[in-house]
């Protein structure tokens, strides 16, 4: 599948934003000692809602008619893309009120905690819907996989945890468990992604060009002549092969230079003087961003659409 850059930016940026929002909400529910004063609230909500909003806006860039995007709220009964839109929009309501109560000094109140919980729940639901947009497509073996939606949630959580640790540290309220949770999140992300990659590598490629055309009953089928001299939309969108060639290297880069480097940077905050911790967590956030962008790129590039069989791919 052709990686749409706006969709990669959207899913990674808003994934991190929803992860951070969910942690702020859960932090409120569980009584985490947040830094005092409005500045933390402004920066934390600015960062999470900013990432979410930038992501959502960028996701409209790949549309043929962005001005009609509002119509996507209507078909939540059948469409995961529509559900994602509804959930994304709905998240703004409790999240906005949660932030406003925080700024207004109602921090610690029951209403504030309930809104925190609702924000966290809707953030997770939104990211789950994003994963299901891909997970529900039976045409793409690598996407129609039980781990796809969980991976979206885990990666969103892991990047959110790194941002959370960075913010808390930056405002002088850093605790060892913040970084510890972030490191656990990174391990979970690398682990679930590795299991997924193993699983798609081992799955049988049992559909052939003969099955797709139904001509397999006559004998061995190969494409003699393509229907057109230039590549068409279907081939450009569904037949992308550039990154697939380098899949092994890119997977290693994602695991080692991405999640691995992020894990090491987090670990260094325990070993090196405390005043360097914020800097290391900034490095960690950059490494986490790199990891999820490479992961998302690969998620598209490694996806093989069944339609390629008609265009001469022997197996899918």
């Amino acid at each position: 599948m052709h990686p749409a850059y706006s969709v990669i930016f959207f899913t990674t940026a808003s994934g991190a934003g929803y992860g951070l929002l969910a942690l702020l909400g859960l932090g409120a529910v569980f009584g985490v000692a947040f830094p005092q004063g409005p500045l933390f609230c402004i920066v934390a909500f600015g960062l999470s809602l900013g990432l979410i909003t930038l992501g959502l806006l960028s996701s409209t860039f790949h549309l043929g008619h962005p001005e009609r995007a509002w119509r996507a709220f209507s078909q939540w009964r059948s469409s995961w893309l529509s559900r994602e839109g509804v959930a994304a929009f709905a998240t703004y309501v409790p999240a906005g009120l949660f932030g406003v109560l925080w700024l207004a000094g109602f921090e610690g109140g029951v209403a504030w905690k309930i809104l925190g919980f609702l924000s966290a729940a809707l953030a997770v639901i939104t990211v789950w819907c994003t994963g299901m947009i891909y997970g529900c497509l039976t045409t793409i073996r690598q996407w129609n996989h039980a781990l796809v939606a969980p991976i979206y949630v885990v990666l969103s959580g892991a990047t959110g945890l790194v941002l959370f640790a960075l913010l808390m540290q930056g405002f002088g309220s850093g605790r060892a468990w913040h970084v510890g949770f972030a490191m656990a999140g990174l391990v979970a992300a690398a682990l679930i992604k590795s299991v997924y990659w193993r699983s798609i590598d081992q799955a049988p490629r049992d559909l052939t060009i003969g099955d797709a055309t139904g001509l397999g009953r006559l004998g061995k089928v190969r494409q003699l002549e393509a229907p057109h001299t230039q590549t068409n939309f279907v081939q450009r969108e569904m037949g992308y092969k550039v990154a697939r060639k380098h899949a092994r290297k890119l997977r290693l880069m994602c695991l080692l230079l991405g999640f691995g480097a992020c894990f090491v940077a987090c670990g260094l905050t325990f070993l090196l003087p405390a005043w360097t911790a914020t800097a290391w967590l900034i490095v960690a956030a950059c490494a986490a961003a790199f990891a999820v962008v490479v992961e998302r790129w690969l998620f598209f590039a490694e996806a093989e659409h069944v339609v390629n069989l008609f265009y001469g791919t022997p197996q899918a």
């Binding site: 599948m1 790949h62 549309l63 043929g64 008619h65 962005p66 009609r68 995007a69 119509r71 996507a72 209507s74 078909q75 009964r77 059948s78 469409s79 995961w80 893309l81 529509s82 839109g85 947009i133 529900c136 497509l137 039976t138 045409t139 793409i140 559909l207 060009i209 099955d211 797709a212 055309t213 139904g214 001509l215 009953r217 006559l218 004998g219 061995k220 089928v221 190969r222 494409q223 003699l224 002549e225 393509a226 229907p227 057109h228 230039q230 590549t231 068409n232 939309f233 279907v234 450009r236 969108e237 569904m238 659409h305 069944v306 339609v307 008609f310 265009y311």
Partner: protein, 257 residues
Amino acid sequence: MTSLPAPEERSGKKLGLVIDLDTCVGCHACAVSCKEWNTQGYSAPLTDVDAYGSDPVGAWLNRIHSYEVETADGQPNRTVHFPRSCLHCEEPACVTVCPTGASYKRAEDGIVLVNPDTCIGCKLCSWACPYGAREYDPSHGVMKKCTLCVDRIYNEHLEPEDRQPACVRACPAGARHYGDLGDPESAVSKLVAEREGYDLLPQSGYKPVNKYLPPRPRRTGAESDGPKAPKALEPLGPADGSLTEQFFMWADKVLSR
């Protein structure tokens, strides 16, 4: 509404095509005729970008592949021409994934359509289709697909014989048939039953309405099937009685002994 029509809402009519892979000659007339009709009808505009340049691209609603089949019986390989367009599935995921309601399946005849006024061009429907039937129109910013010539088949301004899809009308080999596949007594249903027509990728679960008729078994030459060709050529047309003509008729008779 992109939820599919419930079974009780459906009329039972399943309009679709039957494509005979035995007789298709791969001339692309159906694709050209389709493009011509649809660039001025329901799907208009259906323009190509850089049409006369080095890298033309544009939406076509029908594509004709050619495959080579290596048979196990030792016969020479077979060439099979394979038109591919929307199959107007009974359970089309391209419709249910649509976030706006622009894609829909008609309850009255089963035709799957895109409303070009509400499509946002997200392309998700094209990802959901295993048959590559949907093509994004870069000039219009919306998804295009076969409409089964919905603007021809019910069009009372056209002569009755023209009230069928443009591709069917254009096919010089009679390889395309149009009709109601929901009616077991229709000509197309009988043809499918007789020729053992099949679904593309039945494991997709989309239940395509369009059917493909497999190429017939090839004559091996060993068996006698049908009248033998005459040993010699008969004179073509009436003789004009000239001396040259009479000479060649005599020569033909002598050489035929």
